[in-house]
């Protein structure tokens, strides 16, 4: 069982407790800086910030229900080279799982990062979050949100959390070095931090936090939360499957798409510098457009829309961690996350692979066995 420790919470301010915890982490010579979500200008958005001076941790707020973008790509930039000491990163579970996938693609470097996962109670879309903190003190509202969510409220503070979070069955990050537990605890009394890797244990022992008994309520609450979210997820899968049951339905589903490729930019596991759809491969000649138009009498412009989404599915559906940033980034509110999570569930199940689970299991298309999938070739292997 992972070694655990307790973070005391004084005068019902878990965020302050976390800030002091992160300050202790920053003191450790092992860590050069801490990447954590921080409120930058009073009621403005909350952005991941690389903090090196412990004093600056005062506005850091890991409990905020905000998810501006998937920080995995940022962590890649912070770890992709020779480094003496490490960067600690306070990330949501889907960000950590996305980072694990990027490590497998040689983009990020696990040795240079110290992953601190926080139980994720869901976040609002970017615009919803701005309204939520418009006039209240952001940190107080975060704690309020946390308490309401822990109490099981559907849409704490009146606004519903993002669909991706509602359908997410990974509220706690098991792959991180340290993970801070909230679910099933009284966050005003104490928080539990548990270490899952050797580095995590080393750091935890150096911090010298008091021990804590495993709270049975945590496991029960966690299971219940996961059950609720899985139910929501499966309902979402059915709806999406129904909505895209034929190519025509898929075309209608994606009819709003204008090929801005923003969903690709936001997607943490789409690691190409330039997507093939923006390279010269897809800038066609006038006679080609005319030929295509000639085939069916008309031609929607821009072309290669459904083709783009299907190809993106082929490229990264096995690596999708369901963080929902694609829907978040789509200017025309196309439910891209629902489509990609539904298909990803199918393809990952087919190869018996779970994205972001561990750096040891190889991505499905990079390995093969001599005798497998004989049903693909009609029973003949």
């Amino acid at each position: 069982m992972a070694t655990t420790a307790k973070i005391e919470v004084r005068d019902k301010n878990p965020v302050a407790a976390l800030q002091t915890f992160l300050a202790q982490v920053l003191e450790d010579e092992y860590v050069a800086g801490v990447l954590a979500p921080r409120h930058l200008n009073d009621n403005g958005a909350l952005m991941p910030t690389l903090v090196t001076d412990p004093a600056m941790l005062d506005r850091v707020d890991p409990l905020a229900p905000a998810f501006p973008f998937n920080a995995a790509k940022t962590l890649v930039k912070l770890t992709n080279g020779e480094m003496v000491n490490k960067v600690a990163a306070v990330l949501k579970p889907c960000e950590i799982r996305a980072f694990v996938e990027l490590v497998k693609l040689n983009q990020g470097n696990m040795d240079n990062a110290l992953l601190i996962g926080v139980d994720c109670l869901g976040s609002f879309g970017n615009t919803e979050y701005l309204n939520y903190v418009k006039d209240a003190d952001p940190i107080a509202s975060s704690q309020e949100f946390a308490r309401a969510a822990l109490a099981g409220e559907e849409s704490p503070g009146g606004t519903p959390i993002a669909k991706a979070c509602m359908a997410c069955e990974h509220p706690s990050a098991v792959q991180a070095d340290l993970s801070i537990g909230l679910v099933g605890l009284d966050i005003d009394d104490h928080l539990v931090v548990s270490a899952h890797t050797a580095r995590g244990e080393g750091l935890l022992s150096r911090l010298g936090l008091p021990d804590v008994a495993e709270a049975p309520s945590r496991a029960k609450a966690m299971a219940e939360l996961v059950k609720k979210r899985t139910a929501f997820r499966d309902k979402m899968f059915e709806e999406t499957n129904e909505a895209t049951a034929s190519v025509e339905k898929l075309a209608r589903y994606l009819s709003g798409c204008v090929n801005c490729y923003n969903c690709r930019v936001a997607c943490p596991v789409c690691y190409c510098k330039e997507c093939v759809f923006v390279t010269d491969v897809f800038d066609h000649k006038p006679w080609q457009y005319l030929d295509w138009a000639g085939n069916k009498g008309m031609l929607k412009m821009p072309t290669d829309t459904v083709f783009y989404h299907l190809t993106r599915l082929a490229h990264m559906s096995t690596a999708c961690v369901g963080c929902g940033q694609c829907s978040n980034a789509c200017p025309n509110d196309i439910p891209v996350m629902e489509l990609f999570r539904t298909v990803a569930a199918r393809t990952q199940a087919a190869f018996g692979y779970e994205a972001g689970k561990s750096t040891d299991d190889a991505p499905p298309l990079s390995v093969f066995q001599e005798k497998e999938f004989s049903e693909v070739t009609g029973g003949v292997d």
């Binding site: 093939v276 006679w287 030929d291 990079s366």
Partner: protein, 1166 residues
């Protein structure tokens, strides 16, 4: 006129092809001839080969300079710029000495013009003749004009003159007039009839009038002589009657031959004059015909005689060396009245016939049904050693391959019947001595349920006469001595090997000796040299071999030949032929020239050419669409060149038939007009039209248009940028291991003038071979090794490093640098190729306690003591030998192949010294393959007792007061027997030396048993998968000295192939990386099967080693944003080909307007 070649390879089977390719790749020009009308030999009839049940012949093709040779399935055919293939050609005479042989060849014409024949098959449909097809081993019939091998190209038909009835129906049926019976040339072919009786002349005149031969008649000898003297109308055939008045026939004959030496004289004789005619024939007359003639026989006979005289051409070649690769024929069990019912029972077939029954191109389309009553076959038996290991059939040798062929065929039968077939193999010794063969047999027995029965079927009778069913009952004696009967659907006779037909005549023509079984005789230590210097034996010519051995033997023969050529006829330093400079067209707007070959009338009839030309004109960037005569002839080709000069297109697309045959022509065209051949393509527009004469023109036109538009759109996207510059090659070689193999390889390379460093771990050279004191065929190994070591140390090009190890090796193909740690410090050495010959040692398999007893030793120790005389054989009371001791068992499931030979060698030496000495040999399968079988018979005759055991009850060894007591069960007597010899000799087999450090340094793998893992079992036996690295000797696989020498020479030849190139160029289809798009995810590195891609850490770039890259495109498919692409198959090209394929297909709405209005010719911008 005389042509000169570096080497002549006789026989274009697999061995011949390998030898020819090996030589051609080192730059020598090779003439490859075969008496059959097709290449491939027996391999054309086999679809799968053991031990991995795959075909894979194409892996023999060159890996570098790929554009210089064919890059498609070898079943279709082969071309290489340095190889001229001549089919239906045989050697008639040879003179001269090595380096300067004058060879005369006789080339039989196929009577079909390869350029004109489009393989439509109409001629063979009308031909009345039906004879057994030797391609299908007699199971199906073919006509006299036939396709020798259905899938070979150039795919033209061949006339088999012997069976042809001269009915001329094929001549009339041929749409393109490809069949050439030389009808016009007959006017000049004068025939003189010298006979006093005018009736013969009259008869001949009216019989032959439609053959349009000019006939003349003279009545007596003098008139005949005058007619012969008349040079203006030169007589080619003289019918000379024995009873000719005037000067007697003998004088006329002599005078006629003086006038014209190749005058064909036919003596006409009454029955009583036949005797005199026969004598006269001795002095130069070619035939004797008995009067009276009847027309039905005479006319076809004369026609055939004419065809032979007109079509056979003799060629004279100057060659440096000759390689004989005749292969072997399969024994025909039907020739002598055999009791096994072959020929009588349709259910008894030979292994080749069974192979054809299983093949897709065979008589039953790969459905296992019995010839005769087509009953599906479920229960099959194989009988081994039919026609081999049989003194009665004067074949006391083992054909080495039939055991493995039977196991493979059993597995193939199970595969084809989805596992329902029951297979049983009746054998005496299951000889699975090759690499991975024992494991193949164990799998077959354990997993696939192939039954092995140690018995010899002695007779085959119909299962039951009454029901007329064709099943057969097989009678044999089982191990326990009970007579068994079993009913089978099919009995396959594993027929042995015989020297190829005509070996005796060829041997006399070339003056080489043959051994007692009729195979070409080669010596033990020089396995590829025949008795005549400069003539070498490749493949199975000096004895039956499996494919891997055949290729090794061919590689060795190629090395010897190329050594002769470099020594006796030194090539001027082979200036690399000028790198053709192609016009750089990357700046120009793409302009495509489409040339349609209209020579075959079928195209005209089935397609409306004008609408096709118009539609093609509408395609993007098509500058010119032209119709040309026949693309397959010289004039047609000049038309294309003229068009190219006129329009100077930067893309050329040719619509013709059989695109494969044009690839070499495209290269020539590219050189003449200076356009990169990668920008040209040939499309098959004949096949779509052939089948559908009747259908509506629109459908066929759409097919042809779609084929051409797909190709033109692909050419449009072709990347005109020139290939990366060729890499320089360091023309030196590194040989690791100074044993017999290493030294032979080093000598082979050094004799070609390249520097070699030989690194040996021990203090002395020689390795394992120094322990061999004498050989089975009484050669002298000790003297041979001394001479070899002496010549290696004295060789100017070889630097020997003793007590030295390679510690580091790095670099790219063609330019490696290795560091060798010697006792005088480290030496760095640049080299272009590496040969690993780290050797092996006798397996030290000792159970506890054996080592203690003096009376127990290994075969090697016994050989030492026998040779040094330390062992006094008269003092011995008996010797027992146990074979396969701790080998061919779970721990080491491979056969070390040499221990049986070594045991027999020692046994015969013991018996020679003390004939009365009882010797008992406990064995599982005696592996005396090839000609070693005679020594097995000699050992038995000498009185050695051979006792078979199997894994279930091995002989138990105990010791009673220092004397070994061996208890075992004699299978024949079904009783325990006990032997108390004074000496126990164990055969433990061979283990490879420790190579883990080399493995890691050179990046090579070893197989499950620790021997090096070669690139391909059969087709690249001495290459590593990682290019420029070769292996030989015991490190590759166990083998006797002769096999080690052969594999060393083959490895040396492969190394010379690399060092002989001043610069190595890759093929035009290779991978490329667009670094701006690449995010270094490394997926393409792990997916590359050839390890041709590497991550350069300093510049953060993925590098492609263009020599290792074979153009498979796996990297292009795995890269999401096509940063990695394959030249010739870029994404734009393939996507636009898909569009063109689906463009204009019968979409719901017919296409409204033809695309004239679409952008015409010059409009498309680049």
């Amino acid at each position: 006129m005389k042509k000169t070649y570096g080497a002549l390879v006789v026989g274009a089977g697999v061995g011949g092809i390998r030898a020819a390719l090996d030589l051609a790749e080192t730059g020598q020009s090779v003439a490859l001839i075969d008496k059959k009308p097709n290449i491939g030999g027996i391999l054309t009839q086999l679809d799968y080969q053991f031990p991995n049940d795959h075909c894979g012949m194409c892996k023999m093709l060159p890996l570098t300079e790929r554009d210089g040779s064919s890059q498609f399935c070898m079943r279709k055919g082969l071309f290489h710029r340095n190889i001229d293939i001549m089919l239906s050609t045989e050697v008639t005479a040879l003179e001269g000495e090595p380096g300067k042989f004058m060879v005369t060849l006789r080339k039989r014409s196929a009577f079909v013009d390869p350029n004109k024949c489009i393989g439509c098959g109409k001629c063979s449909e009308v031909c009345p003749v039906k004879v057994k097809s030797d391609f299908n081993a007699g199971l199906t019939k073919r006509s006299a004009i036939y396709l020798p091998v259905p899938h070979n190209i150039p795919n033209h038909y061949v006339v088999d003159l012997d069976n042809c009835l001269r009915c001329w129906q094929c001549y009339n049926a041929c749409p393109t007039g490809a069949i050439d019976f030389k009808f016009e040339e007959r006017q000049g072919f004068h025939i003189l009839v010298a006979d006093s009786d005018p009736k013969t002349f009259e008869d001949m005149k009216d019989w032959l009038q439609d053959q349009n031969f000019p006939l003349r008649h003279v009545f007596d000898g003098d008139a005949a002589v005058d007619a012969l003297a008349d040079q203006s109308r030169q007589v080619r055939i003289l019918f000379l009657d024995m009873g000719l008045p005037g000067s007697d026939p003998e004088k006329v004959l002599r005078r006629g031959l003086e006038l014209n030496p190749d005058l064909h004289v036919v003596l006409m004789a009454q029955p009583d004059q036949e005797q005199a005619a026969r004598e006269l024939a001795g002095q130069g007359a070619k035939d004797v015909l008995l009067k009276p003639f009847e027309p039905k026989r005479f006319v076809p006979w004369l026609d055939k005689l004419y065809m032979r005289m007109m079509s056979d051409e003799t060629l004279d070649l100057d060659v440096g060396a000759v390689i004989l690769a005749g292969g072997f024929e399969c024994y025909d069990p039907g020739e002598v009245g055999d009791v096994l019912g072959y020929g009588r029972e349709p259910a008894v077939v030979t292994s080749v016939e069974f192979e054809r029954m299983c093949s897709g191109t065979g008589p039953s389309n790969a459905k296992l049904i019995r010839p005769g009553d087509n009953k599906p076959i479920k229960k099959i038996a194989w009988l081994q050693c039919v026609g081999s290991r049989d003194l009665k059939k004067k074949a006391d040798y083992c054909s080495s391959v039939c055991c493995m062929i039977s196991i493979k065929e059993a597995l193939l039968a199970k595969k084809l019947t989805k596992g329902e077939a029951e297979t049983t193999i009746f054998y005496m010794d299951m000889r699975t001595f090759g690499k991975e063969y024992e494991r193949y047999r164990q799998n077959a027995e354990a997993n696939d349920g192939v039954k092995f029965v140690n018995a010899r079927i002695h007779s085959v009778v119909p299962a039951d006469q009454t029901s007329g069913s064709k099943d057969i009952k097989v009678l044999y004696l089982d191990e326990a001595g009970r007579l068994q009967e079993e009913v089978f659907d099919l009995l396959v006779l594993a027929v042995g090997a015989r020297p190829p037909v005509g070996t005796k005549e060829l041997a006399e023509a070339l003056g080489i000796e043959t051994n007692e079984w009729g195979y070409c005789k080669t010596r033990y230590f020089t396995p590829s040299r025949t008795s005549a210097y400069g003539i070498f034996a490749a493949g199975s010519y000096n004895g039956p071999k499996d494919i891997a051995e055949t290729l090794i033997q061919s590689g060795a023969a190629a090395l010897e030949a190329s050594r002769i050529i470099t020594i006796y006829a030194p090539l001027t330093e082979r200036t690399p032929e000028p790198q053709p400079e192609y016009r750089n067209v990357s700046r120009e707007t793409p302009k495509i020239l489409i040339a349609l070959c209209t020579s075959c009338p079928i195209l005209e009839q089935t397609v409306d050419m004008d609408s096709l030309v118009a539609r093609l004109g509408g395609l993007a960037s098509v500058a010119q669409v032209a119709k040309i005569g026949s693309a397959c002839t010289k004039p047609g080709w000049e038309e294309i060149e003229a068009l190219a000069d006129k329009h100077s297109p930067n893309r050329i697309l040719i619509g013709a038939c059989q695109p494969y045959a044009y690839i070499p022509k495209l290269r020539e065209l590219g050189q003449t007009i200076g356009l990169n051949p990668a920008l040209m393509d040939v499309v098959d527009i004949f096949t779509p039209t052939a089948a559908r004469q009747g259908e509506d023109k629109g459908a066929v036109e759409r097919e042809v248009f779609s084929a051409l538009s797909m190709a033109s759109v692909r050419l449009l996207g072709a990347d005109p940028t020139p290939l990366p510059p060729a890499t320089q090659v360091t023309r030196k070689a590194l040989v690791v291991g100074g044993g017999l193999a290493g030294m032979t390889a080093a000598m082979g390379i050094a004799d070609h003038g390249y520097a070699v460093s030989l690194v040996e771990e021990q203090e002395t050279l020689g390795g394992q071979a120094m322990n061999i004191r004498y050989t089975l065929n009484d050669e002298d190994p000790v003297k041979f090794m001394e001479d070899l070591i002496d010549s290696v140390q004295k060789h100017p090009n070889i630097t020997v490093y003793k007590d030295a190890r390679v510690v580091l090796s790095s670099g790219r193909a063609g330019r490696f640098t290795s560091v060798i740690a010697t006792d005088q410090g480290a030496v760095s050495f640049d080299h272009g190729a590496t040969v690993l010959a780290t050797g092996g040692r006798e397996a030290n398999v000792y159970d506890y306690g054996f080592r203690v007893h003096k009376c127990v030793m290994t075969q090697r120790e016994l050989e030492d003591q026998l040779a040094s005389g330390a062992l006094d054989t008269s003092a011995l009371s008996g010797v027992a030998m146990i074979q396969c001791w701790r080998s061919r068992d779970e721990g080491r499931s491979y056969c070390s192949r040499v221990c049986c030979g070594q045991a027999l060698k020692n046994l015969l030496m013991l018996k020679k010294r003390n004939p009365e000495l009882p010797v008992y040999v406990f064995y599982r399968d005696i592996m005396t393959y090839g000609f070693a079988e005679t020594y097995y018979t000699q050992a038995r005759k000498a009185g050695a007792v051979f006792i078979r055991y199997d894994l279930k009850d091995k002989p138990k060894v105990e010791f009673e007061d220092k004397v070994p007591v061996i208890t075992a069960r004699d299978p024949i007597l079904q009783r325990e027997i006990q032997v108390r010899p004074s000496l126990l000799v164990l055969s433990g087999g061979i283990e490879p030396n420790e190579v883990s450090d080399l493995q890691e340094m050179f990046g090579v793998e070893v197989n499950a048993d620790g021997f090096f893992q070669e690139a391909e079992y059969k087709w690249r036996p001495v290459d590593f998968l990682k290019q420029r690295l070769f292996m030989c000797g015991l490190a590759r696989a166990p083998g006797n000295m002769s096999e080690t020498i052969a594999s060393a020479k083959a490895a040396a030849q492969r190394a010379v192939r690399i060092l002989s190139e001043m610069r190595l160029t890759s093929g035009s289809v290779i991978a490329e990386v667009r670094h701006s798009l690449c995010s270094l995810c490394g997926k393409c590195i792990s997916v590359c099967p050839y390890g041709a891609r590497s991550l350069d850490l300093e510049q953060d770039m993925i590098l492609v080693d263009e020599l290792l890259c074979q153009g498979c495109g796996a990297c292009a498919a795995v890269c999401p944003n096509s940063a990695s692409l394959l030249r010739g198959f870029r994404d734009q090209q393939v996507l636009s080909v898909i569009d063109a394929a689906l463009n204009g297909l019968n979409y719901g709405r017919a296409r409204a307007a033809e695309p004239e209005t679409a952008t015409q010719t010059e409009g498309g911008e680049s």
